[in-house]
């Protein structure tokens, strides 16, 4: 089946089997391996991407369901060589060790901060319910999200001329 899926602003037209998962389309058909495949059972969240602005587990979606949709992956977060505040904050706050869960963490946190620009710690931990990290114990991930929320607020303020 022919599908047209836009990933990080670039259109990918491919002839695929309906059973191909979105996560494999992203990694194998589009060659974007920043999205990781962890448990493949909708639990770990490593494969999280944004589809039409919504955080989804790309292992639990067939690529054909995303036909015509816009997907954002970790590779699409940086702008003109400058990292997204979430990426910067994960780096600065040491919000990762092995890094396997990080792309999914960042995409879920992107959804969180879109819906709630100033989450408290409970809300951050609640939002990360579906993203497992086996290294950090989550402390520094929470700090990274708090730091990113602050930066994004500051930048929005600056952009609005405050």
């Amino acid at each position: 089946m022919d599908v047209k899926i836009t990933i990080n602003g670039k259109l990918y037209e491919k002839d695929i089997e309906p059973r191909l998962l979105l996560t494999h389309f992203i990694r194998d058909a589009a060659g974007l391996t920043g999205t990781h495949v962890g448990c493949e059972t909708s639990i770990c969240g490593a494969c999280t991407v944004l589809a039409g602005g919504l955080a989804v587990k790309s292992c639990t979606m067939f690529a054909v369901q995303a036909n015509g949709a816009e997907i954002l992956t970790i590779e699409g977060m940086a702008r003109e060589g400058e990292m997204h505040p979430l990426q910067e904050s994960f780096w600065e706050e040491h919000g990762l060790q092995c890094g396997f869960c990080t792309p999914g963490m960042i995409m879920t946190c992107h959804q969180l901060l879109t819906r709630n620009p100033s989450p408290d710690e409970t809300q951050i931990r609640g939002a990360l319910d579906g993203n497992l990290c086996r290294c950090t114990g989550y402390q520094n991930i929470v700090k990274a999200v708090q730091s990113a929320a602050g930066k994004m607020k500051h930048r929005r303020g600056a952009a609005a001329g405050d």
Binding site: M1, P18, R19, L21, A55, F62, Q65, L112, D129, G130
Partner: protein
Amino acid sequence: MIAQQFDYTVAASVAEAVALLQKHGDRARILAGGHSLIPMMKLRLAMPEMLIDIGRITELSYIKEESSYVQIGALTTHHAIESSVIVQRRCPALSEAAGLIGDIQVRNKGTIGGSIAHADPAADYPASILAFDAVVITIGPKGERQIPASQFFLDLMTTALEPNEIVRAINVPTRTGRSASAYVKMAQKASGFAICGASAVVELDASGALAHAAIGVTGVGNRAFRATETEKALHGRKPTAELLRAACEKAAGGVSALDDIHASAEYRLDLVRIFARRALEKAIERAGN
């Protein structure tokens, strides 16, 4: 984990979905949010030869407020139900159930219609669907049917839905006066599925006695059930702590409980007693305020 090969087609309207289902019969399954069906297909517990994708029928995604009920379209996501001001105000138990399903990503994709059609015994909604005496509106080649919740969930992953029917919407009747509802659960840690979930819908009369008390329980038996013995023991009486405790002793009735690595049957039955009481306490407190 790769699903077995299948053909895929998109239905642009409800009528088209019904026609496609009629045409392809048992070969086909309906795909909504996919968060019950796709995991089953990846494990090859489900191997449909064709998927009819109704996920693009936007007219099935809505929450509509009427004077005596709230109607929720089948494709409304758990996130939309969780964050709906209408559902929060009129049927908080349902909004709480939606907010406790899986995680953000799952709630962004999973739908209420898909969840109830799948009828997982550990799904959250059925407890509230039963407690509210909701009505499931289905559509098939012969038109619409209105199936009362009490007749909808038949057994493990089995509903009253005919093979050529689709869930179109759910009507949730709501009470006026001093009424409220609440949903509480013990969740399986990794998946978030209910080991025991209880939903209570109550109404207090002017004297503070229970004019109505309904309790739905999920996660415990092959299908969700009503705690009818508890309801009878509460009817018309003032909800003192002793009464609630005593009435909830009978909450599991004679149900045969599931027994698995997450919880023994005995433990599940004990949880019914506790969670029925907690749901009632929360609902009564809300109704009193």
